[in-house]
Each structure stands twice: as structure tokens, then as C-alpha cells.
């Protein structure tokens, strides 16, 4: 699938399906160390993205990313809203008016997304948040820069999976889970898990 506006829209629709499938899993992860709404929050957000895309797909990949951003910001209702919203907003800014995303642009967008999440939430690596999925995702994507868009996104998803796994052993220092301190150890961060799921959905859509 070419990484045009339509391609990005298709990837978001695929992501919405994956989120719907994993809604209960994300709720359960969040129940253990948070407030049991991460699956619900993202479902609400991605369902709204799908609806918005039905009304009309913006002309550029940047436009689609911007629509995803504003929708997530308005609809998610939890920390994931401003965080993923800012990620898509920063990615959109990088995409500019390109009609199609190529690998260098994708890498720029991924880096911008990570920077956006960190600017918004002030988390660093090791704080047991979605940042711990995004950091290895971006590194792995950079390592796959010689491949296709699908290769880059698959590498990113693999990195995010490893990063999400790494949060199991961490003491959370940001977000609600930080209230639990050591009691959170042994649990995967729900936001890190959803980051991995989203990147996997994007990678599959890019095949």
C-alpha cells in the first residue's frame, strides 16, 4: 500500500480494529496499575477517527495525521489523548505537504512523535510509560532505514514490543501508575502496550 493520505487513513482504520480487539486486554493492564480505562479511552478515540474519516479523508498524509491528532485530543479523555494527540500533531507537522510518505520522512515523523510525547508528558526512558515503547521503536526503525516503509514499521513494532515488555520490571515514575511505586512492578504499562499494538497495526497495513 502506498503511503498516501488514503494509505495513512487505511492504517488508522486497521489500528482502530486492533484497538477494538485488544480493548479488554488494555483495560485489564490499566486496572492493575491505573484506572482501568485505557482500552476504553483508545476505543473511543479510534472509533471517532474512523467516523471522521468516513466524512472525508484529508488530501495529504499530514492532513490525515492532523485529523487523528485532533480527534484523539478531543475524544480520549485520559492521558493517552494529549500524548498520542501530540505525537500525531508533531508527526503531521513533519509531513508538511508531501503527497506520499517515503522512508526518510517516516523516520522524521516517528522521531517527531517521540519528541512530542516526551515534550507533553515529561517522561524519559525507564519511567515505565509509552515512551519506553517509543524509544526502541524509533531506534529500530532507524536501523531498518534501508528497507521499505513496511520494513521500517515492522522494525518499529518489534522494538515497541521489546520496549513494552521492558516496562514489566520498571517502577513507574510518571502517570497514575507512579502512585503505586514498587507495587507496579510485574505489570506491563498499558500505554507501552498500546503503542506496540498501534505500530504493529501500521506495519501490517503497510504490507
Amino acid at each position: 500500500m502506498a503511503c498516501t493520505a488514503e494509505g495513512v487513513a487505511a492504517a488508522l482504520r486497521a489500528a482502530a480494529e486492533v484497538i477494538a480487539e485488544h480493548r479488554t486486554e488494555l483495560v485489564d493492564l490499566d486496572r492493575a496499575i491505573g484506572d482501568a480505562d485505557h482500552g476504553e479511552n483508545l476505543s473511543r478515540g479510534f472509533t471517532a477517527i474512523v467516523s471522521a474519516l468516513e466524512t472525508g479523508v484529508p488530501e495529504t498524509p499530514a492532513g490525515v495525521a492532523k485529523l487523528a491528532a485532533t480527534t484523539l485530543i478531543s475524544k480520549v479523555g485520559g492521558a493517552a489523548g494529549p500524548l498520542y494527540g501530540t505525537a500525531f500533531l508533531r508527526a503531521s507537522a513533519k509531513l508538511g505537504d508531501a503527497a506520499e510518505i517515503d522512508v526518510p520522512l517516516l523516520l522524521d515523523a516517528l522521531r517527531a512523535a517521540l519528541e512530542g510525547v516526551q515534550a507533553r508528558g515529561k517522561a524519559v526512558g525507564g519511567d515505565a510509560t509509552m515512551v519506553d515503547a517509543l524509544i526502541p521503536a524509533v531506534s529500530a526503525a532507524e536501523g531498518a532505514a534501508d528497507g521499505t516503509i513496511a520494513d521500517v514499521l515492522t522494525a518499529a513494532a518489534d522494538g515497541a514490543d521489546r520496549g513494552a515488555e521492558s516496562t514489566v520490571d520498571l517502577i513507574p515514575r510518571k502517570g497514575r501508575a507512579s502512585y503505586l511505586g514498587e507495587r507496579a512492578v510485574g505489570h506491563m504499562d498499558p500505554g507501552a502496550r498500546s503503542t506496540a499494538l498501534l505500530l504493529r497495526a501500521f506495519a501490517e497495513a503497510a504490507r
Binding site: 484506572d35 502512585y179 503505586l180
Partner: protein, 127 residues
């Protein structure tokens, strides 16, 4: 069993809303709002409601009371003095919202009343 929490406020809505918020991360903790004057009488504290709330919040492991303003603190302290066992309850100086969430999470984790109170007292701006 877990330590109970009483939220003493001048506003019924504030106390109820905060109880819901804190309960999100502490489903097994008795978090009892005690806000406003009796019978929807508006802004103020209701001593009798605070006493009743402290009794209801106690499942045998003690109670921590948090408050919004100084007069709510005095009402809470009087209420504690009136309990059958005043040593079972403690009024803690803490930022109300931040303290309630921190206390609820600590209580959910099985902490004793002293530790729950310390969690509230040391709660700062939210992470």
C-alpha cells in the same frame, strides 16, 4: 480489609466527585464523602455527617480524614474526638485532592492507617 478514607468538604459535590475519582484506583477502599450542609443546605460542613462517615469508613483498620478548609479540619477533629475509639481515626494535613488519591492508592495496597496518612501528607502536585 483496608483503611477507610473520609473526605470532609464544604461542598457535597466536591466531596462526592473526589470520592469517585479516588475510588477509580482503589476499588476495595471505603471512601466516604462528607460535604456540604445537611439536606442540600449549601456550602458548609456537617459535623453529624462527618461522624457518620467516619463510622461507615471504618471496617476495623482505621480511618484517615482529609479536609478542604480550616473549619472543615476543626469539624473533622471534633468528629474524631467523639468516636467510640478516637485512636482509630486520624485527621491528616494534606492537599485534599492529591492527598485523597495518594491515600486511596496506599489503602488499596493494604497499608496501615499511619502509612496511608503519610501518603496523603506527602502528596504533592500530581505526577
Amino acid at each position: 480489609m483496608t483503611v477507610g478514607i473520609v473526605l470532609v468538604s464544604h461542598s457535597a459535590k466536591l466531596a462526592e466527585g473526589l470520592a469517585e475519582l479516588a475510588a477509580q484506583m482503589a476499588p476495595d477502599v471505603r471512601i466516604v464523602p462528607a460535604g456540604g450542609l445537611p439536606d442540600g443546605g449549601g456550602i458548609g460542613t456537617d459535623y453529624d455527617e462527618v461522624v457518620a462517615a467516619a463510622q461507615r469508613a471504618d471496617s476495623g483498620d482505621g480511618v484517615v480524614l482529609l479536609y478542604d478548609l480550616g473549619s472543615a479540619q476543626m469539624t473533622a477533629e471534633l468528629a474524631v474526638e467523639s468516636l467510640a475509639d478516637p485512636s482509630a481515626a486520624v485527621v491528616v494535613d494534606a492537599p485534599l485532592v492529591e492527598g485523597a488519591v495518594a491515600a486511596a492508592v496506599a489503602a488499596q495496597g493494604g497499608a496501615n492507617a499511619k502509612t496511608v496518612g503519610e501518603a496523603a501528607a506527602s502528596a504533592g502536585v500530581a505526577p
